[in-house]
């Protein structure tokens, strides 16, 4: 019987099958940040088991609130920092070198095709873009991952989404994934893996694939996954070039992960994007999705461009194209947070930061910041934010605040006019 990519990864990492379809799998990487890891560290200390299974497979970053905003967040950073030092975790990223976890870890080459990855963060599904099985977990799973290098999952069933058609002008990966979430609903893929395939995905950059996989969890999925190809190899080449003589050889090697032609899927969905329009969320759930043109005049107080969904260089370039030579509305506060130091310096070199600043944006350091309403742009009650992030839950960016999710292009156009706007209005 044929297997899906997720099933192949599970089979090659099986440690135990304690009962039913529960598979305990070996982990290739355990990622950590300062919000969910300190609980695991403290618990390990209390249990007298302050150890790590393999310090080279653990990667840690302070990203959610950085620089620390108060004594409590400073303490969370301190616990993570001291733990990394104590256990000789070399891949630890502190302020000045830190960025949003799901942007910086791929950039450092820590995710490879066929890997199994967990992190105490629901958007860990992002890393599936590299053909890995990557899942967000809670602190206890993280704790066992740190201690033993294993995690338990149901054997994955997969929904395959075949994305085809010609992407219209002004439509981006964010619109594609919002349309898919709108179609599946917020629990349409619960406990399942979503395999993104088809010509549109083949043509996507790694950044765009990460945007799609990032939001798989918003449909309930454990992981989003894309087949590794030349795009993946090009992205990873500086990290894998010693393992393969040519890029073609690497692509060939990764083909062993491809789903078998007779693989069994829970469901196969054909998704044509030819008539897709720029989309935006209107309610408090990520499946509350509408075309921009159906929104009417929604006045915006803040525009936030950044996060693990859309804070990468490609996102900044697209937004800058729209913003170039324009000024944002006097009634809008614009905030840009490039997701990593590398994205930040690239944006500086390409003149992108200047475009944002000339337009009236504030540029912050790389951080999660306002995305989860902890710092750097929390909303006041009754305020509305146009955001390139991934969650529009009530209160997500501040109690009583409203969040509309959209692509960086739509967010940039919205910043200029002050109400939700299609970026095509600013294209020549």
């Amino acid at each position: 019987m044929g297997k899906t990519i997720a099933e192949k990864i599970f089979d090659s990492h099986l440690v135990d099958n304690p009962s039913g379809d529960i598979h305990v799998i070996r982990l290739d990487a355990v990622f950590c940040h300062e919000i969910t890891t300190p609980g695991a560290i403290n618990d390990l200390i209390v249990r007298g088991k302050d150890r790590v299974f393999d310090s080279t497979k653990i990667k840690a970053v302070i990203d959610h609130v950085t620089p620390a905003k108060d004594s409590k967040t400073a303490m969370q950073g301190k616990i993570l920092r001291e733990w990394a030092l104590r256990h000789n975790i070399r891949d630890f990223f502190d302020i000045g070198r830190n960025g949003v976890c799901h942007a910086i870890f791929p950039e450092k080459g820590f995710v490879r095709p066929g890997y199994t990855v967990i992190m105490g963060d629901s958007h860990t599904c992002t890393h599936g873009a590299f053909g890995a099985f990557a899942a967000g977990v809670g602190t206890t799973d993280l704790e066992v991952g740190i201690l033993k290098g294993v995690c338990a999952f149901h054997y994955p069933s997969t929904i395959k989404i075949n994305i085809s058609g010609q992407m219209p002008e002004g439509v981006y990966a964010k619109d594609v994934i919002l349309s898919i979430i709108g179609r599946l609903s917020v629990n349409g893929a619960t406990d399942k893996v979503i395999e993104f395939t088809g010509p549109v995905v083949d043509a996507m950059s790694m950044e765009a694939r990460m945007t799609c996989c990032n939001m798989a969890i918003e449909a309930g999925a454990t992981c989003g996954i894309c087949c590794p190809d030349m795009t993946t190899v090009e992205y990873l080449w500086e990290f894998i070039k010693d393992e393969y003589t040519t890029k073609e050889e690497a692509v060939d090697a990764y083909k062993r992960l491809y789903p078998d032609p007779d693989a069994i899927y829970e469901n196969i969905i054909e998704h044509d994007v030819s008539r897709l329009e720029p989309l935006v969320t209107f309610g408090y759930k990520p499946d509350h999705v509408k075309p921009v043109k159906e929104m009417g005049e929604i006045k915006i107080d803040q525009v936030y461009i950044g996060s693990c969904t859309n804070g990468r260089i490609e996102d900044l370039r697209v937004a800058a194209q729209v913003l170039k030579g324009e000024k944002i509305s006097d009634s809008v506060r614009g905030i840009l947070s490039p997701a990593t130091p590398k994205v930040f310096s690239q944006a500086m070199e390409e003149g992108i930061l200047k475009i944002f600043m000339d337009a009236g944006f504030c540029v912050t350091n790389p951080t999660c910041g306002a995305c989860l309403g902890m710092s750097n742009g929390v909303l006041a009650e009754g305020e509305v934010c146009a955001s390139t992030t991934n969650r529009n839950f009530n209160g997500r960016m501040g109690k009583g605040g409203m969040v509309h999710l959209m692509s960086p292009a739509t967010a940039a156009a919205t910043a200029i006019t002050g109400y939700i706007t299609n970026s095509n209005e600013f294209r020549d």
Partner: protein
């Protein structure tokens, strides 16, 4: 094993997310006891007040409970309020796993059974005795009595028995 019996709190809504169960702004708390006052602080549900939580040990709710952020602060905040059992039509994967990983119970019932429980008990002081050996909830409220059976997998039961995933994994791997 933890206590899985007691008074029920009814939350008549689907898709209650972990930001509602435990708001992000309190994620800076490191001790579990400090989480107690913030449980369900941002829940969007007409007629619900956080004071309704007092004295309750079980939550009964609809579909996709615990979606969103992976934060285990949600089950911890429940546990610190004496709530170790959630009965729902369905759960988000990470939340459900977090519950069992903490040795707590997240039990799914078919939507008809959930409808039935809501229609008979939601407006009453309801008590639930959980018989985990026989997989039965004995539900009672002024005169009404109802027995509902539930299923729990061998692995989930083993986690509850062990007191959680750390205990389970530590002895086996």
């Amino acid at each position: 094993m933890k206590n899985f019996s007691g008074k029920a709190l009814f939350l008549d809504r689907s898709d209650i997310n972990t930001d509602e169960i435990f708001p992000a702004k309190y994620l800076t708390e490191i001790s579990k006891d400090a989480l107690k006052p913030y449980l369900l602080e941002d829940l969007q549900l007409d007629g619900f007040h956080t004071k309704d939580i007092k004295g309750k040990n079980i939550i009964i709710t609809r579909a996709n409970f615990g979606c969103g952020s992976s934060r285990e602060h949600a089950p911890w905040a429940l546990e610190s309020n004496g709530i170790n059992l959630i009965i729902a039509e369905s759960f988000a994967r990470i939340f459900r796993q977090n519950m069992f990983n903490c040795g707590m119970l997240a039990v799914e019932l078919p939507s008809q059974a959930i409808d039935h429980i809501f229609s008979l008990f939601a407006d009453k002081e309801t008590n639930i005795e959980t018989d985990i050996e026989k997989n039965i909830f004995h539900i009672t409220a002024d005169g009404h009595k109802e027995d509902i059976t539930f299923a729990i997998s061998e692995f989930d039961l083993a986690l509850v028995d062990a007191g959680g995933w750390v205990e389970y994994a530590d002895t086996r791997y």
